[in-house]
């Protein structure tokens, strides 16, 4: 080998060479010490030789015991932290179908969803038939929808109908203090599922709030959180459809409130959560059935019209309806009613929608201020909104609010035109204009109204192309997401300025209109405010009476 070849070799392998030499030196020293030790031992007198030999078995025994103890401790902690015991175990236990006990008939409403899910249940039940045809069993079902719409409830009904063991988990359980805990817990969950599937012919895993772990994978910004998140989701992907997977009759049902595109695309692709079920808030007919279902569980007056309740509970989820009926039963007990009355339900509705009355003490001046503030909202809402009725006006403090005006449409609004949004802005600005007109100044109570108005105006311009300058597009679709999950709008500063100007123009236009209306209807404003001060709360009928007295009609009535 030439000199240059030696140099090249050294450059490539210098670490190995040094480590090898050090290892050799250590080994030589060890051998030398061993030889010297053996020699010295041989030269010892017999008594000391015997003493040395006699102590060796005891030392060996103690060494073995110590090794066993430390091995045991190490194994225990490894198992506890990483391999399926203790910290790596999820807190929840397997739930038997009999314990779940949510029948298919208990799932009220959402007929179209039930139809889709029923098909999935039949596929799970009749695996044999599916295999004969040559089809593949569904791996995962993803349920997407707003909170309280029955995703978990539906999953329980699936478990009961299929008769398979049910392993519930929540996405946040896979987020732990140490990196690797999520992965270990995921492994532990699927390991248990495989065992149950072997014993029972199948198993259902239900992961609620899967968005905790199922969002897009990201780069780690330090600290290991990103690594842990990616590792957990990778483990889930592998368990669902990885290289080593065999057919194991495990069906994973997941539920989330976020949009499907916010989840990692590898999760939602075919072969994993291929079946997506969208669970929306119940419509009128479904709400009626829900009220009938929940009221059947309590004593109520026969005169209660569930249709009317359903109309009133526009936008309620099944959980809201259940909560409303529950609240009504408590109110009935408080009022010493034998049965739930319509009034109890009405009070319960107010609690669910507007919140509990609070104990804030208001001075007379504050009450006057709030009365005119709310009167502004109510008048503008009644006179300008194309779809919504003003159902309640109140100056009784509730939750965080000192007063409230409630408005809702008669039916669900699926497509909201520009006028709808402008009317919403005008309602929000009604309080500001009313304070200005009445007191010549404004207060701090308009902050949430401004927030709502500004957000609506912003969306009109930035998302729906309703700005005056004619700028079109959903400008948020141009947002770029980096590897760390941070988003940045890909819009120039000049364009941003134009869009902001359009937003302000909408607000100014709405405010001008509102000021004109309230200036024109000053007498009505005064009367309404005084009525509020006198009664504290005005219900729908009372509000309609006031406006009728002044010969005012709603825009939707005018169109008729």
């Amino acid at each position: 080998m030439t000199n240059s070849n030696w140099k090249k070799y050294w450059k490539l392998h210098w670490i190995k060479i040094i480590v090898g030499l050090v290892g050799l030196a250590l080994f030589s020293i060890l051998v030398y010490l061993l030889v010297v030790g053996m020699k010295s031992f041989v030269e010892l007198e017999s008594f000391y030789k015997k003493m040395t030999l006699a102590s060796i078995p005891l030392q060996l025994f103690l060494g073995i015991i110590t090794a066993f103890i430390f091995a045991g401790i190490y194994t225990f902690f490894s198992f506890y932290f990483f391999y399926g015991g203790g910290m790596a175990k999820l807190g929840q236990k397997k739930v038997k179908p009999a314990d779940v006990n949510v029948k298919w008939t208990d799932v009220v409403g959402m007929e179209s969803v039930k139809k889709e899910v029923w098909e999935a249940i039949n596929l799970i039940r009749d695996r044999a038939q599916l295999k004969r045809v040559g089809g593949k069993i569904i791996k995962g079902i993803l349920m997407v929808g707003p909170p309280g719409c029955g995703k978990t409830y539906l999953a329980k009904a699936i478990a009961t109908e299929t008769g398979l063991p049910f392993l519930p988990a929540v996405g946040s359980e896979f987020v732990g203090m140490f990196v690797g805990i999520g992965t270990a817990r995921m492994k532990s969950l699927f390991k248990e599922a495989r065992i149950l599937a072997d014993l029972n012919g199948g198993c259902i895993i239900f992961i609620d709030e899967i968005d905790s772990i199922g969002r897009h994978r990201m780069a780690d910004s330090g600290g290991g959180a990103g690594l842990d998140h990616n590792a957990t989701i990778n483990q889930l992907l592998t368990e669902m459809d990885g290289l080593r997977q065999v057919e194991n009759n495990i069906i994973i049902i997941a539920a989330t409130n976020v949009r499907e595109d916010e989840l990692d695309s590898a999760l939602t692709r075919a072969g994993r959560f291929e079946r997506k079920i969208y669970i929306a808030r119940p419509r009128l007919h479904d709400r009626e059935k829900l009220f009938e279902y929940y009221l059947k569980k309590v004593k109520y007056e026969a005169l209660i019209d569930t249709k009317l309740l359903a109309r009133r509970a526009l936008g309620f989820s099944p959980a809201d309806i259940s909560s409303m009926v529950g609240e009504a039963s408590l109110i009935a007990v408080r009022n010493r009613h034998e049965r739930i009355t319509y009034k109890d339900l009405s009070e319960a509705y107010d609690r669910v929608v507007f919140g509990l009355k609070s104990e804030v003490f208001l001075s007379d001046e504050e009450k006057v201020w709030i009365a005119y503030h709310e009167a502004g909202h109510a008048i503008i809402g009644y006179l300008t909104h194309p779809t919504d009725d003003v159902i309640k006006a109140s100056i009784i403090p509730r939750k965080d609010f000192l007063g409230v005006v409630g408005h809702r449409p008669k039916e669900e609004v699926n497509v909201a035109p520009k006028e709808y949004w402008l009317a919403n802005i005008k309602i929000s600005l009604g309080s500001y204009a009313a304070e200005k007109i009445k007191f010549g100044t404004t207060g701090s109570g308009v902050s949430s109204d401004f927030e709502h108005a500004l957000l609506t105006a912003h969306n009109m311009v930035w998302l729906w192309g309703m700005g005056e300058s004619g700028m079109l597009g959903n400008f948020y679709s141009l947002a770029l997401e980096d590897a760390y999950g941070r988003t940045e709008l890909n819009v120039s500063d000049a364009m941003k300025q134009k869009l902001e100007e359009d937003t302000q123009k909408i607000l100014r236009y709405c405010l001008k209109d509102v000021e004109e209306i309230l200036t024109r209807e000053k007498e009505l404003l005064e009367y309404f405010a005084q009525e509020l001060l006198k009664k504290g709360e005005l219900e729908y009928d009372e509000i309609v009476e006031i406006f009728k007295k002044y010969g005012k009609e709603r825009p939707q009535d005018r169109s008729l």
Binding site: F41, E45, F47, Y48, M51, L53
Partner: protein, 270 residues
């Protein structure tokens, strides 16, 4: 991994067993005298005289000066004595059929002064294996000193009468030594005067005679007779009430008190 570990353990055990089987005594009883002499000479360049008398080994070393002006041993003397005793121990411990006692005699041949160190070899073994502490071992050493004009100029040790020491005799030396130590200790020596203290062992009988006067009485003072009884019992217990001591008589001449014990009574009266 478990298989490998098991193989290593078994192999080591086999090797050790082989080593253990090949441990034969390093020294022979037959050549004990020459062995001790040669070892002292080779290791430390020290000349000693060695005799075997029954089950007792006698070692003699003459010195020019043993005691210094302060009444302790000269530095080089204690170092030399330490080396001789080290060699002695090495040989005795690594020999088959060990003797029962060994006695080292150091003589100041200029002054005529003898020092005797007597140990029971079994006690040495117990100390070496850690069964008894250094303090306990030192308490089991009989140390006797006496002026002896016959030691003057005796480099060969001919003035030493060498005999086979018996356990009873050894115990009697220890009892005397311990009683003396007790009444000469710093906190009581001003209160007592030992007029006479003699111990004797013959034909299975152990006699302890003493005359200890109380010079100055104080509260909680030791009672000589009781202390003598306690010391005797303690030492006999250490050696497990040897069968060769059949009777013990303790006589306090100062208080005119005597006690007689049989071996059985001593065992029962623990």
């Amino acid at each position: 991994m478990v298989k490998n570990a098991l193989r290593t353990v078994l192999f080591s055990f086999f090797i050790l067993s082989c080593c253990a089987c090949s441990v034969s005594p390093s020294y022979s009883r037959r050549d004990i005298e020459s062995t001790i002499k040669n070892l002292c000479k080779q290791e430390f360049n020290i000349d000693v005289k060695v005799w075997e008398a029954g089950d007792t080994i006698w070692v003699y070393s003459p010195f020019e000066k043993i005691v210094n002006s302060k009444g302790g041993l000269e530095n080089d003397v204690s170092e030399r004595i330490r080396r001789i005793l080290l060699s002695l121990r090495r040989v005795i411990l690594s020999m088959e059929n060990r003797p029962k006692f060994y006695c080292f005699v150091a003589s100041d041949i200029n002054v005529g002064f003898d020092l005797y160190y007597v140990w029971r070899i079994n006690d040495l073994v117990l100390f070496e294996v850690g069964y008894i502490s250094l303090g306990d071992f030192q308490e089991r050493e009989a140390f006797i000193y006496a002026l002896n004009t016959k030691a003057l100029g005796d480099t060969e040790g001919s003035h030493i009468s060498r005999y086979d020491i018996k356990l009873g005799e050894f115990i009697s030396y220890l009892i005397k030594q311990n009683i003396e130590k007790k009444f000469n200790s710093e906190n009581v020596k001003d209160n007592f005067r030992i007029n006479d203290l003699r111990t004797r062992y013959y034909n299975g009988k152990l006699e302890i005679n003493f005359n200890i006067m109380i010079k100055k009485y104080k509260e909680g003072l030791l009672y000589p007779f009781d202390e003598a009884v306690a010391v005797t019992k303690k030492i006999l217990k250490v050696y497990d009430y040897p069968a060769e001591i059949k009777e013990v008589t303790i006589h306090d001449a100062f208080n005119k008190k005597s006690r007689f014990y049989t071996r059985k009574a001593l065992i029962e009266d623990k």
